[in-house]
Structures are given as C-alpha cells and as structure tokens.
Symmetry: C2
DNA sequence: GTATAATATGCTTAAAAGGGCATATAAGCA
DNA sequence: TGCTTATATGCCCTTTTAAGCATATTATAC
C-alpha cells in the first residue's frame, strides 16, 4: 500500500505534473536542461523533482556522456497503466509545451547541442 | 492544475485509500462509525480524513438524523473516471473488508442500529 | 591536468500534514 | 429540559515537504 501512496504523493506536486506533461507530450527522452528551459525553473529544482519521479518508478534515466536523459517508464501493471491514463486527462500548460517545442527544435540530429539557456539556478 | 494536485494529495495517504476502498468494495453509503469500526481508527481521525476526501470532491455526504452517510461521488469527467479506475487497481486490505462486512451486517433493513463498537477515540 | 558544463545533493528554513486529545455541535430520546 | 450518541473541529506537537542557495560530482574539451 505504501508504494501506491508514494506514487500519488509524487503526483501531488504541480512542478512534477508539469514535468510529466513534457514527457507525455513530446514522447521523447528529455534532459534536465531542456526541462528547466521549458518550465523556467532552477536546475536544482528540476533535479530534485525528477529524483522523486525516479524513486517512485514513474521516470527512468539513461546516461549519455555528460547528459542524462529521462523518460517515462513503460507501465508494467494495471495501476501504473491507469496512472498514465489519468495524467493524459489533465490539461497541459501551453506555455511549457511551446517552450519545450522550441527547445527540442534546437537539437541537431537528435543530439543536444545547446546547453541551459535559462539563467535560473546555476546552469550557466 | 491545483485541483488535480489536490486530488493526488488526497490519495497519497494510506488511511484515505483504506476509506475509499471500503466504499468501492461495499458500493454503499457508510457512516463514520462503520468506517472507524472497519479500520479500527479513532473517530476524529476518520472525520478529518473524510473531510479531505469531501473537499477534493471524491466523496459526498447525506445527513439522515443523527447519522451522516458518506459515499463516492459519481465521476463527471475523464480525470475523475480515471482516478476511480486507478483505485480499483490497488489491492484492498482484507482485514478492513472483513470487518466492514461484519459491521454492515448489523444493519436492520438498511438502517444503522448499532453505534460505534470500537472504543477508539471517544465515540463511546 | 585544468577549465567548463551538466547534473546531483546537503543544509537551512518555512509551510503543510497528520496524529492525539479535548471539546463543540447537532440530533434523538427519556 | 437534560442526557446521550454521532460527528466535527480547534489546538498542540512532530514529521514531511519544497524552495533557495551553495557546493559536490562527473564527464568532456582544451
């Protein structure tokens, strides 16, 4: 039961929902700098929230060089599937999506070539 | 968005999930004393948690004399429907269900005739 | 190796949440 | 009216949580 409440707790935060929305919209792996530029939040903030999402098993990571790519974990049971379905029913923040679209467009052949643009936090 | 995070927050508590499970299992209106006897928790505790569930729109109440009957609100949108679907995918606490079954069996023609049995809190 | 960029994390503080307990409110009944 | 029972709520205390800030870690490039 604890595990289930933990998932709900992870979803009970506005920033974490915004992060998850970026994933479900883009259907891509995203790195921290892309997320922080999309949400206009500090780097440490994104990192911490992503950590929560990772701990509850909603998000996974893949390291590639200096970057870490995060993405949604494919559901492995009914509960998990229902959670993702539920997320789809939540209206997304349009500004976030717009910024994400622009940000991802800066990739060259899928590779990140532009670092953090936002000067929030200390990532530049 | 706030509204959505509030629903998730409401579900991020073990006791509240146990309460909701009683409703989804019994498909009935339940009163506080039946819930406290089923979960073996103090009355003030149940009252407070039910209040949260009411505030987030997951549970509604109907007053009947000295008793207040609570029940699940019928979903009115996709998000709400998905939430209830998600709850179904969570394993229930068997002891709770067993106690609830016994407790509800004490009703006479659907009327509550036995008050709080649990001596927790101050309901008796 | 050194500098730099991406990400993680420890510390502090403020706000929220949950349990325990006492008490308030409200309705039925003697 | 006064008592009892069902439910609600205010207060205290402890724990958790999230943000801010500084700093640590890791990998790349020079």
């Amino acid at each position: 039961m604890e595990k289930f409440t933990d998932v709900f707790r992870a979803l009970s935060d506005k920033t974490r929902l915004r992060i998850l929305h970026l994933f479900t919209f883009s259907k891509k792996e995203l790195c921290i700098c892309e997320i922080m530029d999309s949400l206009k939040l500090a780097q440490y903030n994104i990192s911490k929230h992503i950590r929560e999402l990772k701990l509850t098993g909603l998000v996974k990571e893949r390291k590639e060089g200096r970057f870490v790519f995060y993405s949604i974990v494919e559901p492995k049971n009914a509960f998990h599937r229902n959670i993702l379905q539920t997320l789809k029913a939540i209206p997304k923040n349009n500004e976030d999506i717009e910024r994400l679209t622009k940000r991802v467009a800066l990739r060259k052949n899928g590779k990140i070539v532009v670092g953090c643009l936002t000067s929030m936090g200390q990532c530049r």
